[in-house]
């Protein structure tokens, strides 16, 4: 499974925003829809969202920056999230994360030089009885170690 994000297009962006700006409190649904297609919230999208929802640009920018999920820059082809919360800490998630960072040559939120993987921390995936837990493009992984992460990344193109 490849994340397969599209490059920003004003027309496509406006179409997505219009399709999701329905009902009350559409802020998050619109931003989620944009990120699902473009992999991030492009700066160019913010004024269109603001205009459509009848809000200020500052408000929309404030929402984008408030929520950890929303990225400001395009991610790699795959997104690897490693849980760093307490239940996973108790079974060595920090060591797993250090190893993965070293092998990929990235820090948190960084993308590998070949554009393949973006590494993100996550605070709980609800897999707390089978940690350390990870998620690769929406695929949950339990009891991970370096080898299991490597194998999952190898499977991903």
């Amino acid at each position: 499974m490849v994340a397969d994000f599209e490059p920003w297009s004003r027309d496509r962006g406006a179409e997505i925003i219009a399709a999701h700006a329905v009902g009350e409190g559409a802020g998050l649904p619109v931003l989620h829809a944009l990120q699902a297609v473009f992999g991030h919230i492009p700066d160019e999208a913010v004024p269109i969202v603001a205009e459509t929802l009848n809000r200020t640009r500052a408000e929309i920018q404030g929402i984008v920056s408030f929520y950890h999920d929303f990225r400001r820059h395009p991610p790699g082809r795959h997104i690897l999230r490693l849980c760093q919360a307490e239940a996973c800490q108790s079974v060595g998630s920090e060591a797993v994360a250090e190893g993965v960072k070293a092998r990929l040559g990235v820090a948190w939120h960084g993308t590998t030089a070949d554009g393949k993987v973006t590494l993100e921390p996550v605070y709980c995936l609800g897999l707390c009885a089978c940690g350390p837990a990870a998620m690769l493009d929406g695929r949950p992984l339990g009891r991970v170690d370096a080898a299991r992460i490597d194998a999952a990344l190898d499977e991903a193109s």
Binding site: G25, G27, C128
Partner: protein
Amino acid sequence: MTARVFIPRDAAALALGADAVAAALAAATPSVQIVRTGSRGLFWLEPMIEVATPEGRIAYGPVSVADVPGLLAAGLLTGGAHPLRLGRPEELPFLQRQTRLTFARCGIVDPLSFADYRAHGGMAGLARALEIGPAGTIEAVVQSGLRGRGGAGFPTGLKWRAVAEAPGARKFVVCNADEGDSGTFADRMLMEGDPFALIEGMVIAGISVGATRGYVYIRSEYPHAIATFGQALVIARREGLLGAVPAFDIEIRVGAGAYVCGEETALLDSIEGKRGMVRAKPPLPAHHGLFGEPTVVNNVLSLASVPVILAEGAAAYRDVGIGRSRGTMPIQLAGNIRHGGLYEVAFGVTLGELVNQIGGGTRSGRPVRAVQVGGPLGTYFPPSLFDTPFDYEAFAARDGLIGHGGVVVFDDSVDMARQARFAMEFCAIESCGKCTPCRIGSTRGVEVMDRIIAGQQVEANVALLRDLCETLKFGSLCALGGFTPYPVMSALTHFPEDFQPPARRAAE
């Protein structure tokens, strides 16, 4: 007769390879009927698969793809003998000792089969609610003693009554499924394993308080729960559970990675399409909630417990439990634990029983050193407090909270000063920024912990840390800033040796 095999589709089972096992089994025996269920919640045995036999279901686990040919050769489809054969799941001690009311169907039924839901007691609660009417339903929920399972423990029935009595052009039922506490996964399991129970509970809440619209706010970290619950909503509309006789419909809202949105007022702001900022209370959401209208905000487990309370009667629910903690609590055993999983039991079981007898101690085999109960804002308990019974008041009496029922076990390799530092760091990352003690104090807390860990002026910095925790505790609007002192202070109180300068620690 076609053999039926049950394989979980719960995210934790998938994380341990359930899909691959299902695919291998389907490829090897195309005629077998595979039913994907939720999980029974015995995660050290997942993927745990079950086969229907004349003697009932027989479980096998943990099953890997490599085990499939051997299992089939041993007669898996007729319940044949094999080293992975566990016998009847109901007779496994971990399940046998539970009282499953809220999770009665989870792991047994196909979560997206409405026929299964009805066949296993679903819809009886709603039928009863329609029979006794809104006032009678609220009275039954009050009488059951059900308290909010999200963590605050406020009586659910009283909340409903307040909303029913509040004047408002529109009213809402909001389900808080922003299960952000580390060590908790019961909401996720229920939405993936028995979503109709939550829908039925919300419909009952809606009828009782006079709401016609519900929202379920599910965290984005739960893509499988979002997908399953979304499919369940479509089926519920088709089956008339939603949108027909009771004019009530439900919309899913997906969170965006902000822990603070699990706080009810921040959650309401988030549904309104804003930053998830905590609101001052009063006014309470019951009077001035979503879009300024009277709103019931309940946790997944509270709402999903309502159908069984109505179906079985308030007294049946109230009769289990201790003190003012009535009914059952779906406890989640997590972290470094041998038998981790979902353990629904009447209130009153002690922490020590949970960790040692039921949980089997640590997964690493090393001694248990600390147990954090109630998520990142919960207290770290040492084994000397393992006699504490699982009860809202008993935990409060020991400066703790049961929260959403997560129990995270750490072995003796844990450094409690680092855990205290993490509590401050987590608060700094997740603070909504409204209150100064939380927004700034948490960052200062990380710095103070860094100095303590480095052995700089430890006594003075520990005094500063205590002072800072006082300020956070009394100067924050919500539980994020207000409760971050629990893990910090409990680490300091129960594990003072970890806060000593490294040189002195080494000498001891």
